[in-house]
């Protein structure tokens, strides 16, 4: 039961529970060089959600490999590194550096972060650019490449088909929706960055719809993300066709969220008589064929 990019590099949550219960861990976006990120405020609360404009603050791939990943080894779970950058070469270079790390199980290509000015987002909204990015990264990467798509597009299926065609091993859906909150006292956008990414329960219906739609078009596995807070939310994403899920914002509300959600999922399966959780995958589709990972 993979956790998401809202986990930093894991060590903080490890103070709350043993991370080995997780299906995998997706670490925070990593760029070639260290990034300072955006000015503050970076966070705003919204109805059933939040906006963030972190701006990819991270210590750079070198330090991630040296100091952040090795402590995660002891949990014996796959480590997925979320990769971001501006130009295509940035991505490729990060991926090449990650090839040298024994700790990396897969790459999650973040072509969908709405909070970086130059680049990033174009790759996430243009099918052809996304495809060429995926091809370049696939050529460079030793490990499987998961492509994380942006929901801020007219046709998510078109994007998904483009990256599948280009060789993506899996797709993560969804990153945040672009939103804004205005501080009426200051008469200015609340976030220093102006706009930010909307996450949390508010976006769950959009995420479920996109997972349902994309899994009806592509054959590669889809990882569902967006507003997952309970075990039943996981069931909803599985029924929509997701083969795995990630939990973001819920970790902020409750540091034990991932652990609790896994327990709730097991409890649900016991109660509903679900012996094999894979039978849930895509079962809400008209002609559920029961696809398996």
């Amino acid at each position: 039961m993979p956790a998401s990019g809202c986990f930093s590099f894991g060590k903080e949550v490890a103070a709350f529970y043993d991370l080995s219960v997780l299906g995998a861990i997706v670490v925070k976006a990593t760029t070639l060089d260290e990034r300072q990120g955006n000015k503050t405020p970076r966070l705003a609360e919204t109805a059933a959600g939040m906006l963030n404009a972190i701006g990819l603050q991270n210590p750079g791939v070198e330090r991630v490999i040296e100091t952040e990943l090795p402590p995660l080894r002891k949990y014996g779970i796959p480590i997925i590194v979320n990769v971001a950058g501006n130009a295509m070469e940035d991505y490729v270079q990060v991926v090449e550096r990650l090839n040298d790390s024994p700790d990396v199980s897969a790459i999650e290509l973040n072509i969908s972060c709405p909070n970086v000015k130059c680049g990033g987002i174009q790759f996430g909204t243009d099918p052809e650019m996304a495809a060429s990015m995926v091809r370049a990264v696939k050529r460079a990467s030793r490990t499987p490449v998961i492509v994380k798509l942006s929901p801020n597009v007219t046709s998510i299926s078109e994007m998904a088909l483009a990256v599948e065609e280009a060789g993506a091993d899996a797709i993560s859906l969804i990153n945040t929706l672009i939103g804004m909150k205005i501080d009426i006292a200051r008469r200015a956008p609340l976030l220093a960055n102006g706009q930010g990414g909307l996450s949390g329960p508010a976006i769950k219906p959009i995420a479920v719809r996109m997972v349902y739609e994309v899994t009806s078009h592509v054959k590669i596995p889809v990882i569902g993300i967006g507003g997952i807070t309970t075990g039943e939310d996981v069931v909803e994403f599985l029924l929509a066709g997701a083969q795995a899920i990630q939990v973001g914002t819920a970790n902020f509300t409750d540091p034990l969220a991932c652990k609790r959600i896994i327990e709730e999922l097991h409890a649900y399966c016991d109660e509903a008589g679900v012996k094999d959780i894979n039978t849930l995958i895509g079962a809400a589709k008209p002609h559920a064929k029961g696809r398996f990972l």
Partner: protein, 259 residues
């Protein structure tokens, strides 16, 4: 972290409340520092996806309880103000790094502005206990906002300042930080709105007094995973954003960069 019980909610001024609840940890065993914060879940509703950070104000070891004091300013704190004795409250913490104590300090200057005063009370108690002389300078907008004056008086001298002069000295806390007043001060501790902290930092840097500032940034997780709560610090000549929830909220004053 755990669900705690509200023991008491008291109105202490206009929109000002003191909330006391059972402690998430055994207080007799220590494990907390003055200046740390508690991260409170407002309700179990999705209306409040983010917790609210409030400073640890008073510690009641005998009752194993904690008090926070806060202003009901926005939707979340207004909702907290509806809590009554017996209600459940989800409390994370105490979190972060509090005010470090220095055993040899002769005279400590505590500076608080408005709703930044609460964490100073527990700090004053600790300083007093270790034998440091405590002088507090606390500022409020107007007389009816004054909180914790008597509590601080229990540990030393208190200078009161109000913006409008309705009580105490009229002006800002920095108006009281004259060279005479700072005479013999070995260290200062400040908590309050950012403009106050910035002014205090400037004035006391001139007086060559080392100190600590407790910063207020918008927080997400409170435990270091969202990278939302950063503030700029300068260390070894290099500026970078650090997480105030785990490396702060208290920082050595000389590190803190206000932009």
């Amino acid at each position: 972290m755990a669900v705690q019980r509200v023991l008491e909610q008291r109105v202490i001024g206009p929109e000002l409340y003191a909330l006391t609840f059972s402690a998430p940890l055994k207080l007799s065993e220590g494990g907390y520092e003055p200046g740390q914060f508690l991260h409170l879940r407002v309700t179990d509703s999705f209306d409040f996806v983010l917790r609210r950070p409030l400073s640890l104000c008073q510690v009641h070891v005998e009752r194993n309880a904690l008090t926070v004091m806060y202003r009901a300013q926005g939707a979340g704190t207004r909702r907290l103000a509806r809590l009554r004795a017996g209600d459940a409250i989800d409390v994370l913490g105490p979190l972060g790094k509090g005010f470090p104590l220095h055993a040899g300090d002769r005279r400590a200057l505590l500076i608080g502005g408005g709703i930044g005063v609460p964490p100073l009370v527990e700090l004053a108690r600790h300083l007093h206990a270790q034998g440091s002389e405590v002088v507090s300078v606390i500022g409020f907008q107007t007389a009816d906002q004054i909180i914790l004056r008597e509590e601080l008086k229990a540990y030393g001298q208190v200078h009161l300042v109000t913006d409008d002069g309705t009580e105490g000295v009229r002006g800002r806390v920095t108006d009281v930080l004259t060279p005479e007043q700072c005479e013999g001060v070995t260290r200062y501790y400040a908590c309050g709105p950012t403009p106050m902290l910035r002014a205090v930092q400037t004035v006391l840097r001139e007086r060559d007094i080392p100190g600590y500032l407790s910063l207020e940034e918008r927080m997400g997780c409170g435990i270091g995973i969202c990278v939302g709560c950063v503030h700029k610090v300068r260390r070894e000549g290099r500026e970078s954003y650090v997480k105030t929830c785990v490396e702060g909220p208290v920082f050595p004053a000389e590190e803190v960069v206000f932009s």
